[in-house]
Amino acid sequence: METLTFRHTTKKPLAGSVPHAITGVVASGNLEILLERVLPPDACEVAIETPIAGYGDVWEAVVADFVARAQPGGLRISINDGGARPDTVSLRLLQGARLMEA
């Protein structure tokens, strides 16, 4: 099990006021994401627990692209990964952000 944490500064807070949301499932090739609006409005932290070591560079790139696209200011995001592919991670992160904007 590898633990990774990435911290980003965003240009703006994520829209909406949903305090927390959860999406995805813990299953092989999938992942579960918990999103909580608990950080300052220009901060985002993504913490990942993954069973597959050695993909730090890929996670870093996926998270950076997500932050640039969604501007998820204020969110602490916890990922419980089941060996998901990067595209699935991206999709779940965007789905999670959409739930928080509702």
Binding site: G83, R85, P86, D87, T88, L91
Partner: protein
């Protein structure tokens, strides 16, 4: 002058030797080994019918049980390496050399045996190419084929899975070869004559019905949002863009997702009747909703698919069927149809390099190619226009007299950037090159060469390689849809944005597609059971796909 009828005499002698174990043409299953040892000679070229789906398994077991002291060094020429027995014969020395096309289920073992030197490999062919060689320099001495039933004269009924049989028999029977057919039953009258009896020398009543591999059944329940997103992009960015009416779909979840989106997403886009009307295709269960919704005009099939027989019998306006009512498939004709009469081939692969060369051969698996190198190639012999073909031709042609412009076949690779176990699809160098080097192949087993590929579709977008004007643009277009693989992360971001501005790369948002809309709710059928409902109960899925 020398002997001009020697082959015929040798054939007569083989048949005479075989007759000792037969009652007329009929041979009991228990006498298969005796029959094969009587008609075969060391070094013979043998076609053991292993198709994409139908397997002459009783004869394969018989061949592998022959005495290697009597029968050895055979040269196997067959389209599919599917059963364990197909490789067992190379371990015992019964066979030595192999020319083939597809080896899906045995891909890992064949790789080991190639590296280990147990198999002397001729080449990994495309089907039509291997069939062509049956008539030129790989003509079989003996063909071992499979059918559903035969009469005592050898008239053969192949059933819906005719597949390669007519081609194999044609090449063998008319060039002094011996043809042995295994059948599930000997009957008084066959339902239809797929192969006339005078081309069949021996008929073996098999101990059990021949094995058929359900190769083209994809369970909608296993389809992911990523595959749905890729399918949406392909429909909007390629099918609609070029108005593709005549096409072939490869095997895989990506194309199966497209089939399931036609009656939903495709309908919403107003594309019914404008795309995907005429097909060279196996009877994919996932196409049932599109057929039932009136999208499909006609389908010619390479082979059949397990469980589709009753459905096909009730849809004879769509499929090619015989006087008995069941499907007539024919791989050679359907491959020809895919080559010359289809405007698009769309399928998947395991590896794509920086130029767009692709292969299904990896370090641990030699899966072979099947029909992909044929249907996934631009046929330079084509001489009839169509809108899709001409549009692709205009995009690709940059120099020369427009009056002499030819069209271009659309060859589309539909891939997810990462495969199983996070193995990247995009690579700097194909594993096929390493295989060729280590086993001494003169020609690297490339499935589709870069110059035939027109588009690559991934979850990140569509790369239109027709619009690339030099090697550097091509490389960046491929990197630009390669996602988070090393190849993708190694992109020149500025160059990729420039290609995007020119429409060489198109992202989902450039096509008006919101990735979050790629939802399983869009699938016309979400399970195998849904497919059964769509078919009005006519589709009978094999047990392994039933969970109710």
């Amino acid at each position: 002058m020398g002997e001009w009828r020697g082959e015929g005499k040798a054939r007569d002698a083989r048949i005479a030797a075989g007759r000792a174990h037969a009652d007329g043409k009929v041979v009991p299953a228990a006498a298969v080994v005796d029959l094969l040892e009587a008609i075969l000679q060391p070094g013979d070229r043998v076609c053991l019918e292993g198709d994409n789906q139908k397997q002459a398994d009783c004869l394969a077991r018989g061949l592998s049980a022959c005495d290697p002291d009597k029968i050895h060094d055979l040269h196997m020429v067959q389209s599919g390496i599917v059963l364990p027995e197909h490789l067992d014969v190379f371990e015992t020395g019964i066979a030595k050399r192999l020319d083939y096309s597809y080896s899906g289920p045995q891909g890992a073992r064949i790789a080991k045996m190639l590296y280990g030197g147990q198999i002397e490999l001729g080449a990994v062919h495309t089907y039509l190419e291997l069939f062509a060689r049956y008539f030129v320099d790989l003509t079989p001495n003996v063909a071992l084929i499979a059918g559903v039933s035969a009469d005592r004269d050898g008239n053969l009924y192949t059933g819906p899975n005719t597949e390669d049989t007519p081609t194999v028999v044609e090449a063998t029977a008319f060039k002094n070869g011996v043809v042995v057919a295994q059948v599930n039953a000997i009957v008084d009258t066959v339902p239809r004559v797929d192969i006339p009896g005078d081309r069949i020398d021996f008929v073996v009543e098999a101990d059990k019905p021949f094995y058929v591999e359900p190769l083209f059944t994809r369970d909608p329940a296993a389809m992911t949002e990523t595959q749905i997103l890729i399918a949406m992009m392909a429909i909007k960015g390629i099918y609609a863009e070029y108005g593709v009416k005549r096409l072939n779909h490869g095997i895989g979840f990506g194309t199966a997702a497209i089939e399931l989106l036609l009656p939903t997403y495709g309908e919403k886009l107003g594309l019914k009747g404008k795309i995907a009307t005429h097909w060279a295709l196996n009877p994919h269960p996932t196409l049932i909703p599109a057929i039932e919704s009136g999208w499909v005009k006609q389908i010619h099939c390479f082979g059949s698919e397990v469980g589709m027989d009753r459905y096909i019998r009730e849809r004879t306006d769509i499929f090619f069927t015989g006087a008995d009512g069941s499907l007539r498939s024919n791989r050679a004709f359907c491959q020809t149809a895919g080559l010359y009469a289809c405007d698009m081939f769309i399928g998947a692969t395991l590896q794509i390099d920086l130029m767009g060369h692709s292969s299904t051969i990896t370090q641990s698996r030699v899966a072979g190619f099947g029909g992909a190198p044929n249907m996934g190639s631009d046929p330079h012999g084509r001489r009839h226009p169509s809108d899709a073909w001409m549009k692709a031709g205009r995009e690709g042609q940059i120099v020369g007299d427009p009056a002499l412009m030819r069209g271009r076949k659309l060859v589309v690779q539909l891939v997810e950037t990462f495969g199983e176990k996070l193995v990247p699809t995009f690579v700097e160098k194909l594993d096929a090159l390493e295989l060729a080097k280590s086993i001494g192949l003169e020609l690297a087993p490339v499935m589709i060469y870069a110059d035939d590929v027109t588009h690559i579709v991934t979850e990140e977008g569509i790369a239109n390689l027709l619009l690339c004007r030099d090697a550097d643009e091509r490389e960046q277009a491929i990197r630009g849809v390669a996602g988070y693989t090393e190849v993708g992360r190694g992109r020149d971001r500025a160059k990729v944005e420039e290609l995007r501005a020119r429409g060489v790369i198109r992202r989902p948002e450039d096509l008006g597609i919101e990735p979050l809309d790629a939802d399983r709710a869009l699938l016309a059928a979400k399970s195998i059971k849904d497919l059964v409902h769509w078919s009005g109960g006519l589709y009978e899925p094999p047990a392994r796909f039933r969970n109710w």
